[in-house]
């Protein structure tokens, strides 16, 4: 163990890999000593593990499959040792539905992460790097998208494309990329006139090499921080769309849709809406704390170059 530590913290690394691992380890150390960030990290990690092993954790699946008298006796049961979070109107185990619903939350998160920030990142860096009419054109497009109210556009898209999780994700992605483009452009503008970029130009580096090899790595950390902090908002928007009936449709165990189902019984059967609500709250909080911690580790402006 000490040997590994010595290797990671070596002042004079012997290879590219060692240097990269050493740098990563130093970042991890800083992250590790931030208790709030670690809480966020543990929450997000738990979410990942729960989603991964959902079929083994969830004892009863998303649907009880009961009918008739059996259904009558098994529905709206309050939380107990048998049903931790109680049962709903179809006698489904709320705990199992929340566990399986975590997969849907993660799918939303993953799909949004792999579309909006990447698109915004490329548009922003290209726009900032080239400047001139490229910048003007790309930024005016960005302005147009920024001018759309997020939820209203999402409603319109859901109406046009049909209700469902896909249109909810699409709506979220298409309304959230401009923020990342603005961020990446602003970061690029601070870098574009630096000497090290001029030096790279003087070596004959192509535009693409300058953007991908020199500009993007420097903008990436603030983008990651921003995305992590936005993740909570994205989960809430997805849940909100589900609640309004425009996202995932019942009987899909999407957390927002589950709250919507529980809304009718909120006074008599409080557990129906409370537990999915708590799940959304916990995950959103986890991403926020993680984002704050990542900012301390990754953002060179607040973290210091040591």
């Amino acid at each position: 163990m000490t040997e590994l530590k010595g290797w990671l913290l070596a002042e004079n690394p012997d290879s590219r890999t060692q240097a990269a691992f050493g740098r990563g380890y130093l970042g991890w150390l800083r992250f590790y000593h931030n208790p709030l960030a670690m809480i966020g990290f543990v929450i997000v990690l738990t979410l990942l593990l729960i989603a991964l092993f959902a079929p083994y954790i969830a004892p009863e699946g998303i649907s009880s499959g009961l009918t008739g008298d059996a259904l009558k006796n098994a529905r709206f049961l309050p939380p107990s040792a048998e049903h931790w979070f109680g049962t709903d109107g179809q006698a489904n185990d709320v705990f199992s539905r929340i566990v399986i619903g975590s997969r849907i939350t993660l799918v939303i998160v993953a799909l949004v992460i792999f579309t909006a920030p990447i698109l915004g990142f490329i548009i922003g860096t290209v726009s900032g790097y080239f400047g001139g009419w490229v910048d003007i054109l790309l930024m005016r497009i960005t302005d147009v998208f920024l001018a759309f109210p997020k939820l209203v556009l999402a409603l319109a898209l859901a109406a046009a494309l049909g209700r469902g999780l896909e249109s909810a994700i699409f709506a979220i992605a298409i309304t959230s990329w401009p923020a990342y483009a603005r961020l990446a452009r602003a970061e690029t503008l601070t870098i574009r006139n630096t000497d090290y970029l001029a030096a790279a130009k003087l070596q004959g580096a192509s535009h693409w090499r300058l953007i991908s090899g020199h500009i993007m790595p420097l903008c990436l950390s603030s983008l990651i921080v921003r995305v992590t902090l936005d993740m909570a908002g994205i989960i809430l928007t997805a849940a909100g769309l589900g609640f309004l009936g425009l996202g995932a449709q019942p009987p899909t165990p999407e957390w927002g849709a589950m709250i919507a189902e529980g809304r009718d019984y909120i006074l008599s059967y409080w557990w129906l809406a409370t537990f999915p609500g708590l799940a959304i709250f916990t995950v959103a909080l986890g991403f926020n704390l993680l984002g704050d911690g990542l900012r301390d580790v990754l953002d060179p402006k607040s973290g210091g170059q040591h």
């Binding site: 690394p13 070596q203 170059q305």
Partner: protein, 265 residues
């Protein structure tokens, strides 16, 4: 080898201005000079005299210029070719700003080789690090783990790794401690001898330039004031009052000297 009679760099009636209308600033005003191959040519003057602007224009970082710039007798186009960068490289003033903060020394040195498609990366990096006297243990460090002098050595190594013939040096020592300055200047002198390089050295310090160069151009307000030859003893026969004043200034801060100063505006 190219014909030594063809000058490495010729600058003909070069003018560079920024802005337009009332805010037009003439940074460089009809400047001409010639740098013979394997010579060291000094450009000296106060801040804002246009010396760095000429250097950046030569490197192709500044495209708004009138006049002619010739590299080994061939006129330079506004878009520089890859072949140009293989011949001409630049070392920047501030080694804290000229190295990418997220790249290791190894990556910084490997990048120009990758751009120009060289295969023997390992050998070349080892060789150039030896040339600038950087110990091999620094190879996988990040710039923030090095001192200013070591960083400037990395910057010089990066410029040398493509084996250029001409180095443009933009105040290569003015961001460094006095003790390190001499080290870097000696290294540059030694490299010029070993690799038969041509230098254009920009500095505000006449002492540095007369130590390093055979020919000096003195600039003020974008104009070339005087062209000097440096003799064996590192002395010049300056006549222009501005040059004489620069000469005094390079001797350090002295009350008697300050009192002799004339405002040349």
């Amino acid at each position: 080898m190219t014909d030594p009679k063809i000058p490495a760099i010729t600058i003909n009636d070069l003018s560079i201005h920024f802005g337009s209308g009332d805010e037009l600033v003439k940074a460089v005003d009809h400047v001409s000079f010639t740098v013979p191959a394997q010579q060291s040519f000094g450009l000296v003057g106060e801040s804002g005299s246009g010396k760095s602007t000429i250097l950046r224009a030569l490197a192709g970082l500044n495209t708004h210029c009138d006049g002619q710039m010739l590299l080994e007798g061939e006129s330079l186009q506004s878009a520089r070719s890859k072949a140009f960068y293989k011949k001409v490289q630049m070392v920047f003033q501030d080694p804290y700003a000229s190295l990418h903060p997220r790249h290791t020394i190894d990556k910084i040195l490997a990048e120009p080789l990758a751009i120009h498609g060289f295969k023997n990366t390992e050998q070349r990096i080892a060789k150039v690090m030896e040339q600038v006297a950087l110990p091999n243990k620094f190879r996988f460090r990040y710039p923030h783990q090095l001192s200013g002098g070591q960083r400037q050595r990395v910057a010089i190594a990066r410029a040398l790794i493509l084996e250029p013939k001409i180095l443009l040096l933009d105040e290569p020592t003015s961001a460094l401690d006095v003790s390190i300055q001499a080290e870097i200047l000696n290294l540059l002198n030694q490299l010029r001898e070993e690799l038969s390089l041509t230098y254009i050295l920009v500095s505000h310090d006449l002492a540095v330039v007369s130590y390093m160069c055979e020919q000096i151009a003195v600039m003020q307000h974008g104009k070339l004031v005087e062209l000097l030859q440096v003799d064996q003893q590192g002395k010049t026969d300056a006549k222009d009052p501005y040059t004489l004043q620069l000469n005094l200034a390079s001797k350090g801060y002295d009350r008697a000297v300050i009192e002799q100063f004339i405002d040349h505006d």
